[in-house]
Symmetry: C2
Subunit: 386 residues, 2 copies
């Protein structure tokens, strides 16, 4: 792994910033207020697992002109100063009387004249990573400026990945590919599912993952009940289908795909379901070129796995992928986003078996100007057997 | 690990719910609206790593009387129905026209009569895990009901851990203790820090962690620059201090402590700094009984490591711990929370070395009616050497 380059050249962040500022100008936004991990990292390169602690809020202000300004707890100053950001303003958090709000308000007032609009992410997949009471206080401190939706500026930019981002995602998918190939080492009839989960994460680390923020799975006779459950100590048994779905990270970028394994020879129903899942995945892959819509991918897969066109619990058949395990957009009938070169997608069809259980398959691809490219190694129609 | 009991008896969740309802009655709240992972899990037992995906919002409504109501994406229905919650209301998310907001508003209107107040977490360490635009829409749909701060109901309850919670935290700390004891297996002069990070997470898994959501560390000659940085490929060198700080999880509960290692014999400055950190930790431990205040612990530690009483970048010298890596309250001069039996704390003094670098030490303890109890194994004054 040591030969791979971590981080990005400053030019990458400068480009992101200028593109955001162009969209801000179009939408009459004097500044963006960023509060979440992915938003801050996208513009600054600030990469830390410290976000696991909910104690401290972190802010970046993106002005209409010029470079981003970090307004952060002093515990992060040393790390932020190693990024391309030069304007780093700190307070000693946690501060029970003023946890950075005055510093943030002052910064916003400095870059956004009275009467202007400050954008904040407010649409689907966003959240407000700061206390609501502080946000309300900030709003009144900033008046007559208005805090409005950010017109999804950052979400729109993140939709298309740069070559440097693609390299990181490819590294992550390759690591997971190797880990999945080693599952027979760790999972046999009799192994507790919780042990399989622990060992699979170990394999991901051995193969080069920085960390494994996501592992879910399913286990059951001829299918499983859901795809988000944590592991239990239930032992694998002949006739079970084991599904492992991982989002591991390399240098801040995720893969997100799964593999199904039959414990012993699969039943006819399981074999057929897996085959249909692969057929569906390939149908979407074949369509995934600029000009197609996300809804086209949905219908291509849904026709294979859900010919009665009933709704599914998962609610979608794939999604974007990159700095987060799941990103905009979703592969659903209502999403008419046109595909563009550089979009990274998961294709994730699910199927209901005759016994009422489910099976889900997932691959990662990147859209190009021509034929799409598999990032994960596409699976054959036959389910893996352990 | 298989002999340990996962989950909680239903009575634990019922007790939490009734206690919350008593506080709600005191504060004139007709319902609580819960949006974050820890809040939902605290009342329902809903444990999944699926929160890693930002796509879908999840809600629980806690009425003034009766059991919590889950208002969640259908992908979570199967898992939620395995908890003690019987009223599970679902929509197929993501839904671009109404992502659960009408269902949530209807549920809230059902339990909160017109003119009443609905509480939402809005103070420090909280965030709003739903799109802001949807929250604003919800507020107008609910009028003339008002969404107000939750008077920190959930935060207050979570401050004191039950015996069942303590068992889980003890399990997590014991796993990390064993992993730290094995660090000499994976770290020597010449090993890349990124490799140490990967291997240490592997050790945590081998020793029984379900997953390792947090690992940070420091590396440098006679101290390090910060405590939140990700690993680089820098190799360990003689004279370096290596610090590893992990928050690993067992059954949804965290430990959070660190260990320092000198690569080769430590310098006199490093030896002295480590000794002061241990002295500080023990000073706080000795005070940690009911009747003492969080600020007492701060001053006891600060006198050892920061006799000039200047501010520190970390901003605090410890914090609560449990379902999250860091929980309320903070060990700072301004926090006068009285200690109570069942509070789990990290004691985390930091010190600045003569060269300007820092060292941090951390242990986990639980307050009892008498002498506090170490959860992590308290370290001797001498730094570990590898």
């Amino acid at each position: 792994m040591t030969s791979l380059v971590r981080g990005f050249p400053d030019a990458e962040f400068q480009t992101r910033t200028r593109r955001a500022q162009a969209l801000m100008a179009e939408n009459d936004l004097a500044a963006l207020l960023l509060t979440t991990e992915a938003e801050l990292r996208y513009y600054t390169g600030f990469l830390t697992r410290f976000w696991e602690s909910p104690t401290r809020p972190w802010f970046v202000v993106l002005p209409a002109v010029g470079d981003p300004i970090a307004v952060i707890p002093s515990i992060g100053a040393h790390l932020m100063r190693q990024t391309w950001i030069t304007d780093v303003r700190c307070w000693q958090a946690p501060d029970y009387t003023d946890d950075g709000i005055t510093l943030l308000a002052d910064t916003l007032m400095e870059v956004a004249p009275q009467g202007t609009r400050i954008g904040i992410a407010d649409q689907m997949e966003s959240s407000l990573r700061m206390p609501l009471a502080n946000f309300r206080q900030l709003e009144s401190m900033l008046a007559p400026r208005e805090i409005v939706g950010d017109c999804s500026v950052t979400r729109r930019l993140r939709l298309v990945k740069s070559d440097a981002e693609l390299t990181k995602i490819k590294t992550a998918t390759a690591i997971a590919d190797r880990a999945f190939d080693r599952v027979p080492e760790i999972a046999q009839a009799g192994t507790a599912l919780a042990q399989v989960f622990r060992d699979f994460q170990r394999l991901c680390l051995e193969e080069g993952a920085d960390y494994v923020p996501y592992l879910a799975g399913g286990l059951g006779q001829d299918g499983y009940g859901d795809v988000i459950s944590p592991a239990t100590d239930t032992p694998l048994a002949a006739g079970d289908v084991l599904m492992l779905d991982t989002g591991l990270v390399w240098d801040g970028y995720f893969c997100d795909f799964d593999r199904n394994f039959s414990v012993g020879p699969p039943s006819a129903e399981v074999s057929k379901a897996h085959q249909q899942l692969i057929t569906a995945t390939r149908a979407a892959f074949d369509l995934a070129r600029p000009g197609a819509l996300m809804s086209d991918l949905f219908h291509a897969m849904n026709a294979c796995v859900n010919p009665q066109a009933t709704g599914s619990d998962a609610g979608r058949l794939g999604h974007g992928l990159g700095m987060q395990l799941t990103e905009w957009p979703s592969i659903i009938a209502a999403d008419h986003t046109p595909l563009a070169a550089g979009m990274v997608l998961t294709l994730e069809p699910g199927i209901i078996l005759p016994n009422g259980r489910i099976m889900v398959h997932e691959e990662n691809i990147v859209v190009t100007d021509g034929t799409p490219v598999w990032l994960s190694t596409p699976q054959p129609a036959e389910i893996r057997v352990i």
